[in-house]
């Protein structure tokens, strides 16, 4: 479904991604792990369409060229990104924001828009998933939310947007164990044979709750090793040092290439 071939990205002359290859099939959950500065978030943003990167390579979603699309077109194509730092929008209530978002992608896809009443139904179901109370809908988008609430709000949005491809950028950062459990519960409930996910994280901890089909190690803007969920356990025990000094390079490239 998602095909990434030899992707490079630079910002302000600084090279961050150095020929990244990845294939994700429908229904799969891929975890991407890596040390600070390895390019994990940059990878997420190049998929979502953030402005300001110089990009080469190829990224397609169901055969369509993703790199050629504006962020909103990618959203309409089914790309959703859960932000590491969700943005505050004072004065705009959460429900209005969510409904505008949903109807924007529906309109772009030529589907009918969802009315206020129907939307309330949809959102209530989604809110149960992340254990949110109704007053949440009437507060300004992320403004004054705690770290945990912001992350839960991201998962709520994902539940409402029903994306084809969800990219979760360090959704576990800054969460206590209860919030982590709730969020992981939400994510697991949203797993489906049609939906693929890329879960970006520093820590194995999240992967105890969201069990990935594949784990990739990203170092210096390249995937240097891929494996199943046991790779995450290995990283937890030994850190990234093995990969950072280049030992993992050769085998990693072949593994990543074989992965599809």
């Amino acid at each position: 479904m998602l095909h990434v071939n030899n992707l490079t990205a630079a910002i302000g002359g600084k090279q961050i991604l150095n020929g990244l290859n990845l294939d994700v099939s429908a229904g799969e959950v891929h975890a991407i792990m890596g040390p600070n500065g390895s390019g994990k978030s940059t990878f997420a943003h190049t998929l979502a369409g953030r402005d300001g990167y110089d990009i080469t390579g190829e990224v397609t979603l169901d055969g369509a060229d993703l790199l050629d699309m504006e962020p909103e077109a990618r959203a309409a194509a089914g790309v959703f990104m859960g932000f590491q730092y969700p943005v505050e929008i004072p004065g705009v209530n959460n429900m209005y924001f969510l409904r505008t978002a949903l109807n924007s992608v529906r309109r772009a896809r030529g589907e009918t828009e969802v009315g206020a009443r129907d939307f309330l139904e949809v959102s209530k179901k989604a809110m149960d998933l992340v254990e949110m109370k109704e007053d949440f809908l009437y507060r300004s988008v992320n403004a004054g939310f705690s770290g945990g609430e912001k992350k839960r709000n991201e998962i709520l949005q994902m539940a409402i947007m029903e994306p084809r491809l969800a990219i979760l950028d360090e959704t576990d950062s800054g969460l206590d164990i209860d919030a982590l459990r709730i969020i992981a519960g939400g994510v697991n409930a949203l797993r489906s044979p049609e939906r693929s996910m890329i879960v970006i994280t520093h820590y194995q901890r999240l992967l105890d709750y969201i069990k990935p089909d594949f784990v990739h190690v990203l170092v210096d803007g390249r995937i240097v090793k891929s494996g199943d969920h046991t790779l995450a356990l290995h990283l937890e025990a030994n850190g990234y040092a093995d990969f950072e000094n280049g030992l993992g390079d050769a085998s990693a490239q072949s593994l990543a290439g074989a992965q599809s």
Binding site: A48, G49, R50, D51, G52, E70, P71, E72, R74, A75, A76, F80, M81, F83, P86, V87, E88, I89, P90, G91, V92, Y96, F97, T100, A101, L102, S104, V105, A108, S140, V141, Q157, M161
Partner: protein
Amino acid sequence: MSESTRTIEELTSADYEYGFSTDLDTDIAPPGLDESVVRLISSKKDEPEWLLEWRLKAYAAWRKMEEPDWAKLNISPIDYESISYWAAPKQKPVLDSMDDVDPDIREMFDKLGIPLHEQKMLSNVAVDAIVDSVSVTTTFKATLLEAGVIFCSFSEAVKDYPDLVREHLGSVVPVRDNFFAALNSAVFSDGSFCYIPKGVRCPMELSTYFRINAMNTGQFERTLIVAEDDSHVSYLEGCTAPQRDENQLHAAVVELVAKDRAEIKYSTVQNWYPGDENGVGGIYNFVTKRGRAHTDAKISWTQVETGSAITWKYPSVILQGDRSIGEFYSVALSCKRQQADTGTKMIHIGKDTTSTIISKGISAAHGQNTYRGLVKVLRSAENARNYTQCDSLLLSKECGAHTIPYIEVKNPTAQVEHEASTSTVGEDQLYYCRQRGMTEEDAMSMIVNGFCREVFNELPMEFAVEAQRLLSISLEGSVG
């Protein structure tokens, strides 16, 4: 420059929607101002002697006054001799019903989205329609009279309720108050008059729609609202003007009198032609608005200012009675080369008086936006309270936002709070919204509307929707 910044500029250079002009047969005075012009206006309107004298006194005062230069506005000199001080669409002299309204005028208002046919109107809003210098019609007059509410053009009020007008005219804004108020007092043409008797809650929203149509004319309207003890009224005004290359002068005076326990809520959506992106044309809007609140009375100003090349406007409240309340909620948008110097004055005289000021300034393109406000607590005002919040939003690198609060406190029991913030629409915010599927234009409009939320919440329902739409249109451009 990043793509987002560029797009914001495109977004803020939208065209003016109401720029058309209507070919009306207009009775217009030759340009220039002297005593004979003041006499001409008064005689055209068949005014009583006392009013002519009042005008002449104002004219004499104005002649001796200097144009104020303290505002943060860069204005090319106004030639008061090149302006025509009287313009009126020629039409049937008496209007008994809506059917008598000149079809061209009716069509003009239809085009502006203000149908004057009562059956087509927004239910529960009475409209006084003013073109150039005169009121062309007032709707729902009879319905209002049943409740005892007088709502008519100022000229009619002078004829039909001379005592009420004479008692209150100039009682809040004296003729010598300032240069533009004096000018208005000398040459004012028409406006609206509202009178709410004791204990009456006005059964519908009252609204005046101002339209400048003729060229090279000034519009000088005068509005007077008197709310007797224990009464309540909500009043709305809207303004548009055709797109022309010359600057046109608009100098209005609005006076509000809220007697004991009365409440007046006054809302404005001002969308005069702002001029083009090079600063050519546009309305010069110099307005004096002030209310006097008696014991336990409340006066609330809400304004959404998106138009005009120049806005100079400080709707104020004299908190004279004990426990009286003054409020000012403002959104001012300066796009293109627009300049706004606007704010309020809250004068605390009575005991336990309270005032609230919420000001939201938005600057885009080359717009300059200044909040200027005065909170004055006199010695007599025991336990006065004020809360002021001034937020500025900057949407381009070339625009400017300035906050100039004056606070004068003469009573040590006063509590005065001032908060101010300046922010931009972040690329992060736009990206976040776009990642959720919204176009950049929709995202921008949502974020800016969110910024204005506290003020929009104060507007009556229909106006809140209109204000949001107006803000989106003013910001909209050639994206996509």
